[in-house]
């Protein structure tokens, strides 16, 4: 082995231009890998945090048996009732890794301003959970301004008695409700709407933040309740842009005439123990005598949007990484082939004076391995600089089916760095070995003579 590295290094220095060109190809490829990987990491984390926290999916979701499918259709038999919520709460209290938890209603209905009605899909949890989510470090870190409410304060800041709700800007426009609760002067008398077609009624609509929610309650009776728009919420995804309503659990419970909920969400302190906690909760709930179903947050059945997006991202990332690897492999093949042709005579001489095939092969492999190593280091530098520049530019883009523009942020991820290192190093070793091996398999006299011509 002695001398191998010396010879390899000297050979790299021998053809500086080719070494630089090949090294640059590897470095750029790796930098691209890091940047694409960093972007993937950013979007993956964003989608994960968005799904688990603001969408209130939690890390684990408990349903009554078949509740996922039937809770909204036949809530009396398939949604959780008040007793269920108590049972699950008691079970969850025995788990150490739980950060917070609570019932969640996913419901439908109409919002009315007195003149127009628009359909809504509402998500409701207890205000303390809304607060915990709003203040959660992960939400602050990964969603930042994305989830920031426009005007007013979030629903958790208000007394549930007034029926505080958050609606999307789209719904606000449809309902001609510009103001939020805090902007309406207290004690202003309500203005009668009169004829809904007249301009006067339009103006009257815009004077307050008051709406009515209408829905079929779980007992089958039509039900309505007053609500105050206290703030705006970003829907986060296009299909909810005009329909999302976020409300306190108690408000929707009274709207749907229930003490229960659609499901029960559990947020973990350490999500890496998801599997253990799932098993633990399953065990705890089994002992209650009632049958529940528990889903993980990344289960396609409860969060199809997240899973679909991630699949798309993974395909895209794999494709780009594959192209980068191929380009790198070809440039190494190319460079190694030229090196072998240039040094054919030398290979013949090495073999003649007693170097074994494997040793000569190693000479080339080590040479390209060293080149790869330097290039990877350069690639890390390039990638870091590239990421800093991109992050600094604050490039905004609107990804498909995400309603708000995202800034492109590259989040360095050791996983993609590791994957890139393994793939690129593997490609280097393979390419240099196969080229050198081909040369070394030839008759020694053949190699020596070839060089004379």
């Amino acid at each position: 082995m002695r001398g191998l590295f010396k010879i390899a290094l000297r050979n790299l220095m021998r053809s500086k231009r080719r070494t630089a060109a090949t090294g640059m190809a590897i470095a750029l490829g790796f930098a691209g890998f890091l940047i694409i990987g960093g972007f993937y990491e950013r979007v993956a984390r964003l989608l994960e945090v968005y799904t688990v926290y603001p969408l209130t999916s939690g890390h684990l979701q408990v349903y009554r048996r078949d509740g996922l499918r039937l809770a909204q259709i036949t809530p009396t038999t398939h949604a959780l009732d008040g007793e269920d919520l108590g049972i699950i709460k008691t079970a969850v209290q025995q788990m150490e890794n739980v950060e917070f938890s609570g019932g969640r209603i996913l419901g439908e209905g109409f919002v009315s301003n007195g003149c127009t009605m628009v359909p809504f899909i509402a998500i409701a949890t207890e205000p303390r959970i809304n607060r915990a989510i709003r203040d959660h470090p992960l939400v602050k870190r990964w969603l930042g301004t994305l989830m920031m409410v426009g005007k007013g304060r979030d629903i958790a800041a208000y007394d549930p008695v007034i029926g505080p709700i958050a609606i999307t800007p789209g719904m606000g426009r449809m309902l001609s409700k510009d103001l939020v609760y805090d902007q309406v002067p207290t004690g202003r008398p309500l203005v009668p709407l009169g004829d809904c077609q007249s301009p006067a009624s339009r103006n009257a609509l815009a004077l307050d933040a008051n709406v009515q929610l209408v829905a079929a309650a779980w007992d089958g009776i039509f039900s309505t309740t007053d609500a105050e728009i206290v703030t705006r919420t970003a829907a986060g995804q296009t299909d909810l842009e005009n329909t999302l309503v976020v409300a306190p659990l108690s408000l929707l419970q009274s709207l749907y005439h229930t003490e229960g909920a659609t499901s029960y969400s559990v947020w973990l302190k350490d999500p890496s123990k998801l599997k253990q906690d799932l098993a633990l909760l399953q065990g705890l709930l089994q002992r209650t005598g009632r049958t529940y179903e528990i889903f993980q947050w990344d289960d396609e059945r409860i969060n199809p949007y997240y899973v679909g997006q991630m699949k798309f991202m993974a395909v895209l990332f794999t494709f780009l990484a594959g192209v980068a690897s191929l380009v790198i492999m070809f440039s190494i093949f190319n460079s190694a082939t030229i090196a072998v042709i240039e040094r054919t005579k030398e290979i013949g001489m090495f073999r003649a004076i007693g170097f074994r095939r494997a040793y000569v092969e190693r000479l080339f492999v080590v040479e390209f391995f060293l080149l790869c190593l330097f290039a990877l280091l350069a690639g890390v530098l390039l990638g870091t600089v590239g990421a800093l520049i991109i992050n600094h530019l604050n490039l905004a883009y609107e990804p498909p089916s995400i309603a708000v523009p995202l800034t492109i942020v590259i989040v360095p991820s050791w996983k993609s760095a590791l994957a890139g290192t393994i793939i690129i190093t593997g490609a280097t070793l393979f390419a240099s070995f196969s080229v050198a091996r081909k040369a070394c398999r030839q008759q020694i006299t053949h190699i020596l003579n070839q060089a004379h011509r």
Partner: protein, 232 residues
């Protein structure tokens, strides 16, 4: 078993060695049933016209090519039974090569070029390497050039370095295929003198090929080769 005058095993024994090349329709018999024995310490020249089979013969003796028929014994070892790795080791330990075009590694210094055969030689202790390289350098009169790169040397100097490289691991046999073909007549004689000197001094056998008839009187043994057949 044949023995030479010193009562030692010969270093090379070829029996019935043939080598044929086929290029499409034409068949070239490069060697025709060659029998040859080389004794230790012998200084031998192979002389023959171009295309007579000199290089082919040297390649087969040097174990970098294999005969189609016949047996090759190097230091009494039947080379046909050896694996590629074993042949490599045999070449490294027993045979030194000098090439017509020197074949020095351009990125290595004179010292490092001479060191090459030692890098893969397990039979010589590492502590000995420096002394051996310096001795080889002195033997060829190149001790002041140890840190030079090959392209800073003249052709004659490069061939001296190549000779030092061929001798550094004390092989029993040195093979040189037209070592002087790329040199002028002054350098040619200097290189032949040097090889003769070293043959006397360290007792290594030399076998070199040439088509230069003027060199005949300087060697102890001449093998003539014509159309793949030899006459001693």
């Amino acid at each position: 078993m044949q023995k030479d005058h010193a009562g030692l095993q010969p270093i090379v024994q070829l029996t019935g060695v043939s080598k044929t090349y086929r290029l499409g329709q034409t068949v070239v018999e490069a060697l025709r049933t060659v029998d040859l024995t080389l004794a230790r310490r012998e200084f031998t020249a192979i002389i023959g016209p171009s295309g007579s089979g000199k290089s082919t013969l040297l390649s087969i003796i040097g174990c970098i090519d294999t005969p189609d028929r016949g047996r090759v014994l190097i230091d009494n070892i039947d080379t046909s039974r050896l694996s590629d790795n074993a042949l490599s080791d045999l070449r490294n330990e027993k045979i030194g090569f000098i090439f017509q075009s020197f074949n020095l590694v351009p990125v290595l210094t004179v010292y490092e070029n001479i060191e090459l055969p030692l890098l893969i030689n397990d039979t010589i202790a590492r502590a000995e390497h420096h002394a051996r390289i310096m001795t080889a350098l002195r033997d060829v009169g190149m001790e002041t050039y140890s840190t030079n790169l090959p392209d800073q040397l003249s052709g004659g100097q490069r061939q001296r370095v190549a000779i030092a490289r061929a001798l550094v691991q004390s092989p029993t046999l040195v093979l040189a295929d037209e070592p002087t073909a790329n040199l002028d007549s002054v350098n040619t004689h200097k290189i032949i003198d040097l090889m003769l000197d070293l043959n006397q001094k360290i007792g290594t056998s030399f076998l070199f090929s040439t088509h230069d008839e003027k060199l005949i009187d300087r060697v102890s043994r001449v093998i003539r080769i014509q159309d793949g057949s030899i006459s001693t």
